[in-house]
Symmetry: C6
Subunit: 198 residues, 6 copies
């Protein structure tokens, strides 16, 4: 049965985030993991799924293609390494992104949304740029322009030393530490969203 | 004679929503059902019809085509499963959407309106994104970015446990439970609109 | 001599609207009727002409073509059923719409203006979406999103039962009742405009 | 020597507007008249030239071409009937419109500016929609949407019966009366601009 | 050595503007003059360069090409008459416009910026429409829509009779008087900018 | 090992900026320098990287290509002279710009962002125009339109004589002085950002 059986990381408030990293092949069935995320999002939160994406470029002038996707809820973090080109089984991901059951929450995603639509036809119907919302609800213009770390710093004031420590020496980090940074970032934005939507 | 003779679901205020689900074939005449919806909308409400749509993708890079349409009034809910490609009898649906007799009300429909126009040439002349209206009239920015469930939660404060229960385990639900969730969502947005337009 | 010799309908304030319905053929001269409308608009009102249009679709993916036009002043209502394709005599209608002598007033016309320009090259140089104006001048956001009936209801508070009665059973109505509904809608928007422009 | 030797019309304040109407042929030199307009605009006013244009359509789907141009200052009104297609001597008109010495002032010109650029490559670098300015400076939203007559009515409160009388029976009017209406409209907008720019 | 050795004009405050007019040929080196302008802008002002452009049209439908450029600082005014087509030595002008060392200041330049980019690939990275700035900082909406003379009139209240005298009889003026008008206009806008940026 | 071993310049507050200038060839590995920048940005500041770009044009109508890039943190300044056409090793730069770990901060970069995307496919996902932010947070409209020097002048009030002295005689300066100006400009904007983000 599908489960988030990857490394488990302790956050600064003492809770844990369970992770799962999948190297998506042509026969990988990712739908059970997406279902677990949806269930956790509906049961334990404001129906939010935090997402982030990475891109790779291969040609000149450069054309970007989606290389990985990270999806987080309060206590889960799924990291999908995507094949190039995509396999048919990625339609489950397409349908997940198009769903209106949950709200997809991201930071500095304007370019990502354009690239997702133009390069891959991915449509996210219910999506929010959390920095813009923070800027408006807090009346602090600057929040719109910050990355994940700075945004979390100014909204949550939590301890970010572990994240800084991993990201400042990124090239020297192994896969598990990078996964931990991803889990921390997802958890931070989940908490930013949680505070803003109260 | 046409009638909404599908399952009847009890809402949290004790009223019932009568449903009809139609698998639209090349000779199905949907116009009597659309007429009943319009009549109910004109007689029993503010001339609003709540709508939602679903999409299916089949090719890479993905091209989305409309796979189903849900139309709700105060006490009716019509679910149309659409063929691919469309038959000529769907012109009745095109004309219904283009009508100015009623206002079409939806949640997070910006992408849907684009896809309807670009992929199918469907024009909805009198349409409103209810979350934007809620955000402005209530002065609560967040409302613009929420999905159906969260929007209803913050405007109506009604009991949403039945909806959560169905949607959190979506893959395990049968057709009738899914239809019930559709009817509940339509009924919720009808009530959100009703409150906002008072 | 041209005259509005169709049915005459009594409005709720006791005044009458004189109608004329024309099935435009290749040799029909519509210019005398347009002149009478302009004269009535200049003599008896704020130089406003209320307009509405209907569309028909024939192909897949659908391409819409203008099938009828309704033009109203305080006491006149002209209904033009248009041929497909258009004849040369419709240039009179093109010139009428392009004129700056009067202001063309409509409800939920954004899509109509796009289709008129893109599909037919019709340009309306002096045009106003009356719902937007109502929303701004009254400070009631909702007014921007309503159809004719609801807009009139909230601005004029007049008796709309006759209109509701015709439109709720639209399919069962004959041509004269449909013409009466058109005349009532034109008269309502004329009065909405009249109130707003005071 | 070039002079405005056409009919001279008395305005409601007792002043006169001198007119000149020119049927522009391939050898007509319009530049002396444009110079006189510029000189009058610089010497006697706020460097404003009031302009209006007319369009003719000949094909289906319709393509509009500029058929006449009206240019007014405080006391002059030039009416140019343009050939189709244009002759080379119209470059003087192109340069006049592109000049930054004067501000071109018009009513409901958004569509006109689009058509001028797209269909003829005419660029007006210093241009203002006077209704928008009136709406903002007076705080009366409605002013943005009115035609010449209604705008003048609400800003100047002058007697408009002569204009109404000519325009309500437009088809029955001869050329001189139509020229008088053009002169009155130009003079009215000149005075609207003059009041707003004080 | 390059110097501004053209006519020297006295402004209304007693200072002088030194001019240089260059008919740019294929071997003309304009870079020393551009360097002098930059140096003067950096040493004697807020790093502003006032610019204006002229266009010529040759074909139907008209295509505009840049025919001359005027660049002004506090005490210098450079007038470049450009060849058609451009020579390679104009790359110096391209680089000058693309520089971020100075701010390019103009009046009613929106159309000019479009034409520069579309017709010539000229990019001005640091540019400001001074009328818009004046309108906002002074709270006087009208300032956005004025030409150079009227804008200067309302911001500076200086004596503009010399400028009016030259421009009202433009066709009768020789080259030196036209150059004087150009120098005056540049000097006026320099002073408008200087006041606004205090 | 990679290090910023170019000239070291003293800023007006007594701190030093260490520079590195690289002429990027086909086998140059720029990634260690980008890593050092990221580390410095994460460890010593608000995760900001100040950037500026230069363009070169070679054809008519002109097509711009990126010729150099400058990247600054609090104490480092990297100057990359780029080859034309680009080599594969520049993908490291593409990935650096696409990263969300840091915020890219620039002055008057709107045109640059357009050209980067259109001409090179470079995507900067987390980017801010610092002048716009300054204008809004300080309530001083003018700040949006200034170049680096003037913006720094009005936000920091520091001594800019060294920068002015280099830039006013730009053509006569050698490479090291130009590099010093680049380092000063980067340091100034770093401090502007630092003040604004407090």
């Amino acid at each position: 049965m599908a489960s988030f059986d990857g490394p488990k990381f302790k956050m600064t408030d003492g809770t844990y985030v369970q992770t799962k990293s999948i190297n998506v092949g042509s026969s990988t069935d990712i739908s059970p993991y997406l279902s677990l995320l949806r269930e956790d999002s509906i049961s334990n939160s404001n129906r939010a799924v935090i997402f982030d994406v990475n891109w790779e470029t291969e040609t000149k002038p450069s054309k970007w293609s989606l290389s990985s996707v990270k999806l987080s809820t309060r206590s889960l973090c799924l990291f999908l390494k995507l094949p190039n080109p995509f396999h048919d089984n990625l339609k489950d991901l397409y349908r997940f992104f198009a769903s209106k059951f949950v709200t997809f929450v991201g930071v500095q995603i304007e370019e990502d949304l354009n690239l997702l639509r133009e390069n891959h036809g991915v449509v996210i119907r219910n999506v929010i740029e959390v920095g813009k919302l923070a800027a408006k609800t807090r009346g602090t213009l600057l929040l719109e322009y910050l990355g994940t770390r700075e945004l979390a710093h100014r909204v949550l004031w939590s301890d970010l030393s572990r994240l800084d420590s991993i990201e400042s020496k990124w090239e020297e980090r192994g896969f598990e530490e990078r996964l931990e940074a991803a889990a921390i970032e997802g958890w931070l934005i989940f908490n930013v969203w949680d505070q803003l939507s109260e």
